[in-house]
């Protein structure tokens, strides 16, 4: 029963069909929440379009699950456009998604800041405008590991994407208009900072090889979410020391108000057990308090991943009353659910 193509510790049939088959499974598991438009390769909220509601869509390369397909549903995204693994989707997907969810109140594109995502969403927004749909686009760029936007493609969009989708999704569900929803995405992005580390790379199904090799006892600091190496490699340290680096990187850039209430998001990259993520959270909670901010909300789990990469990221969002209320609002998606 061996197949030639499957020599890489992965459950798949044909590397070229991994994304499509997985999306079909997502829809089969959650028919009450989403439908899968296979021709357009998009995941659409079951009851879309909702007349008068501002719609949110996002998308990007696959391999970051549950992002984005797992966040389609009540109180979060109206559609997701998944590209091939680690490859941004094409404008046709975004246009199809935009048209599928537009309820007349406009559509917000949540775009992670990667050249591919930005360019493809830009072309799609142009196409959508040609069809008379009001579209706004917000680029998420919360990753403090990428320092200087003059000499780089700018900060990557990472953990804040999840928070923006949840929080702006709640605003939209609550009836906010296009300007308000757009501004909510922008606010979440502006008030969030992230930093990621990796203990291994990962194997994209198409190539079947790890993107890089990280010897045991080493850590990549300042990684993104594409299994790529980070800003620098160092000796693997204790969880406490690693969290020191993460908290310092995030807090020194965010510069939260003294005593600020924050949401602390400890995210797993896919191959890190929950046992370790909660151990990291214990350190994060302690060190954020020591840094003078108060984690009043948190999210711990693997929500924006790099396939089976071993690693974790910290995202800190400085909350205010509105953002807290939107965070607490009901959400019902395959991957995030409360209040319903």
């Amino acid at each position: 029963m061996a197949v030639e193509t499957n020599q890489m510790r992965k459950f798949l049939n044909d590397p070229a069909r991994v994304v499509k088959e997985s999306l079909a499974g997502l829809a089969a598991a959650h028919p009450d929440l989403v439908r899968y438009d296979a021709a357009a390769q998009i995941i659409v909220r079951k009851d879309a379009p909702r007349r008068g509601k501002v719609a949110l869509i996002s998308g990007g390369g696959s391999g970051h699950e549950p992002l984005h397909g797992g966040f389609v549903g009540h109180g979060m995204l109206d559609a997701a456009c998944p590209g091939e693994v680690f490859t941004s989707p094409v404008p046709a997907q975004m246009l199809a998604a935009t048209k599928a969810v537009d309820g007349g109140a406009g559509v917000v594109h949540i775009v992670k800041n990667y050249t591919g995502d930005v360019l493809n969403f830009k072309l799609a927004a142009g196409d959508a405008a040609d069809e008379g749909i009001k579209v706004t686009s917000i680029v998420i760029d919360d990753d403090v590991a990428v320092q200087d936007s003059l000499y780089t493609a700018g900060r990557r969009g990472v953990g804040a994407t999840v928070l923006a989708e949840k929080i702006a999704g709640a605003a939209a569900e609550g009836g906010a208009d296009l300007a308000k929803v757009t501004d909510t995405v922008r606010q979440v992005n502006e008030r969030s900072r992230s930093f990621g580390v990796a203990l291994s790379s990962c194997v994209p199904p198409a190539s079947g090889k790890p993107i890089f090799e990280l010897p045991e006892g080493q850590i990549e600091l300042g990684i993104g979410i594409h299994g790529e190496p980070g800003r620098k490699r160092a000796q693997l340290a204790s969880a406490s020391d690693i969290v020191d680096v993460m908290v310092e990187a995030v807090v020194s850039d965010l510069k939260p108000k003294k005593g600020a209430k924050v949401l602390a998001f400890v995210n797993g990259m896919g191959g890190t057990p929950l046992l370790e993520l909660y151990l990291l959270y214990a350190e994060v909670d302690k060190k954020l308090r020591a840094a003078g901010v108060e984690p009043v909300r948190n999210l711990v789990g693997s929500y924006i991943t790099s396939l089976e990469m071993a690693g974790a990221s910290l995202t800190v969002l400085e909350l205010d009353e509105d953002l807290t209320r939107f965070w607490d609002s009901p959400v019902h998606t395959p991957a995030l659910r409360w209040g319903v």
Binding site: S88, L119, G227, E228
Partner: protein, 215 residues
Amino acid sequence: MISERVMDAATITSWMREIDVAVRAEKDHLVQLDAAIGDGDHGTNMVRGFEAVVQALDADGGSPPGKLLILAGRTLVSTVGGASGPLWGSALRSGGRVLGDQSSFEGAELVEVLAAALASVKDLGTAAVGDKTMVDALEPAVDALRTRLGQGASLDEALDAAGAAGESGMRSTIPLQARKGRASYLGERSVGHQDPGATSTALILRALQRAARAT
């Protein structure tokens, strides 16, 4: 002037086929280059795109060369994704628009096609020479083609010079620190690696030379 060889729809089709063959042969190499400073999908992206382009052109019933380029560009945009899809897609579309409905074109017009393609890449991607992108291969190639044709070289000679300029531009990316695209996230760690997009661009330029020679 011997450079006044005439190119037409068949040249475009043959160019796209040559690219398809070339990126397929170099797929693993492109993936490897992209894995070192990007996300390891550039080879797969280019193969997926140009496979679709060849299919689209095969299905086309006799459009003029400009329209074929536009069709190729649209196909890239709608199948590749990533950074390279919209960049090369827009490039070919812009290049195609230069030719309008004319059924054949000559060297001087080819320069305009490639110049429009380059302009489109730079406009969309805001990269300049030295940023460690496909622009480092494309811009010197367009310059070389224009210069050699202006000096009275044959089309083949000029395209050979363009190919060589593209390859040397490609190699010039090795010592550079990336300022655009994914590789820029690596900061200094991007130094010492050849840019995958510049590498596929060099392949695309050599494919053009072969296609024009075969016309």
